[in-house]
Symmetry: none
Subunit: 350 residues, 2 copies
């Protein structure tokens, strides 16, 4: 049992056929099947020896003594990293994708992309809303509510509207609020939210004497308005119900945890955020994600870019046992098409 065997060409070949077979059948695959399926012309007995090695390496696993082998997470990982032969998209799928994403009638390309991902893969599709790296304050406005509460509305980057309710110590008149808003707009408009936050803090610490009461009130309200902003990121998820068809998610507890994660959103967002860093296709297999809810799922994602800048992530969620060789190129292409569709310069063709 020399150590050179570890990366043996032959055993890798066998791992590959095993994973492929398991993905298509869903049954643990035994040595006899493997012997016929692979082109290696080896007897089942030989294959059993190789399997034992692969099991030692943690790449495959036997559910019980007499049950054939199933790929482990590391097995899938090795398969995806080094053994996979990617299948290019069928051309009719490609044209369909292209059409749907470029002739978007609803003004909801993001939703359309998500639906495409879900429909064509029969799994769940997810697309994060595109976001700008830096958020610039464009305009702020205060509206008085009852009992010293104030509704703050502010617009960032061109056209994103946020609102928030703050409680003020004293009750302001509409005119005072208007003045405060004017003041804040005049000095902060065009600055990034981060810069505004810093400046506000500095003003409150150092310059209290230098400011008049109106300015001070305004800055105090700004502090409340931009406090811990949570930068509400969001995504569009579709086709969740497709996941109910998979036997690996038939367990109600698992399914429930997964769906809870979907509606809590934060874990999913966190996961997608990680995919934003790496460009190209990024894959989490089973437990790799680090979130229990995704334990039996895989996530195939790709970031998408507008004018060479990454602005969001999209992907597909399904059981670990999914047809990676088709899903990967599909996600890849969809990301590119979405990026193109979002690009303001390249108006949609036709």
């Amino acid at each position: 049992m020399s150590e050179a065997q570890v990366l043996n060409e032959r055993s890798m070949q066998l791992l590959k056929t095993l994973v492929e077979r398991y993905i298509s059948d869903g049954q643990p695959v035994g040595s006899r099947v493997l012997s016929k399926d692979s082109d290696l012309n080896l007897s089942p007995a030989t294959i059993r020896n190789v399997m034992a090695d692969l099991e030692d390496l943690g790449l495959v696993h036997s559910p019980h003594t007499s049950a054939g082998r199933v790929p482990t997470v590391s097995g899938y990982r090795m398969f995806v990293n080094s053994l996979l032969t990617v299948k290019p998209l069928e051309s009719k799928e490609l044209t369909h994708l292209h059409q749907q994403l470029s002739h978007d009638e609803q003004g909801d390309v993001i939703g359309a992309a998500s639906r495409l991902l879900a429909d064509l893969t029969k799994m769940a599709g997810v697309v994060t809303l595109p976001k700008r790296e830096v958020v610039f304050l464009r305009h702020i406005e205060f509206l008085p509510l009852s009992h010293g509460r104030v509704l703050v509305i502010f617009v960032t980057n061109e056209q994103e509207v946020h609102n928030k309710i703050i409680h003020t110590a004293k009750v302001f008149s509409p005119a005072e609020l208007q003045q405060s808003a004017n003041y804040l707009n005049s000095i902060y408009s065009g600055h990034s939210l981060q810069a505004v936050r810093k400046s506000v803090l500095k003003d409150l610490q150092d310059d209290q004497e230098r400011m008049n009461q109106g300015m001070l009130d305004a800055v105090r309200m700004a502090q409340l308005a931009f406090g811990q902003d949570a930068a509400k990121e969001d995504y569009v998820l579709t086709g969740e119900t497709n996941l109910m068809g998979f036997s690996e998610l038939a367990d109600m507890d698992r399914l429930r945890k997964l769906f809870e994660a979907f509606s809590q959103k934060q874990d999913v967002i966190h996961l997608l955020d990680q995919c934003m860093q790496a460009d190209g296709v990024q894959i989490f297999i089973g437990e790799e994600s680090g979130y229990q809810a995704f334990d039996h799922c895989s996530l195939v994602t790709s970031s998408y870019s507008v004018s060479d800048e990454v602005v969001g992530v999209l992907g597909v969620i399904g059981p670990t046992r999914m047809a990676y060789e088709k899903i990967i190129p599909f996600v890849d292409v969809t990301a590119k098409l979405l990026g193109a569709a979002l690009n303001p310069k390249s108006a949609s063709p036709l």
Copy 2:
């Protein structure tokens, strides 16, 4: 077997105890249990005779020869209509509800109501967005974007913020937009959106000569902003995952159909629309809804009103076997509190 027996006091009493018992246990209830549970002091044998009658009437049903009885849909219906003894809300639940709905911090009362319904019942909560007609305009604001597009922000009823992008024929300066907004605020603030829409149409048809250019521009923008807003009916559904805990929904096909109905939305909307007509609490039990997806579910709803006008519906979705005597008053009260919270006149107490 005289026909007078059909509405026999005693058999109804027994049906009542049977349903109550089944709701709390989930097991088919046998004659012995029923004999002890009811205050009637009857022997199991007598009760068996009554049960046979109830079965003939289609009010109860026996899953198999030796299994006790389970209420049918008609059984539940009779229970709910004539036998139910409603349990008033516990006062701490009431205060909790009241607090949550009146001190809404997020500017999302509808979402808060939905979450309350789901959390307190451990089932799914649903609230339709209030009908447009009774939404009052509070404040409107225009912000210029590139290429002749304008971002419209408007606030309705106390604190709901909406935004929309419109395309204008000519390009306006920020000052012009400001003037238009001022004009619109001065004449329309406090009016319902419907009234605004009507008035806008009338102005454009009749009074063009009477208005100066600025007013005309303003009114045209108002038309775009409030135009055919699709009256996009929609609802906020929360706690779907709670439904995964119920054994009657453990069947994956059923569950899937239900969740698909949730994301398609249209069936649910249609169902909720029916509840809008009837005021007071409305209940669909099992197949009564007419939608297969809801076959094993019940829906307890109530419309909610602002200033004596029905503007929406809210309710709870759960398995047919639910604690109606608690859910019904709960839905009822929540609807009233939500109506109050949405009322622009009655500012939130405290």
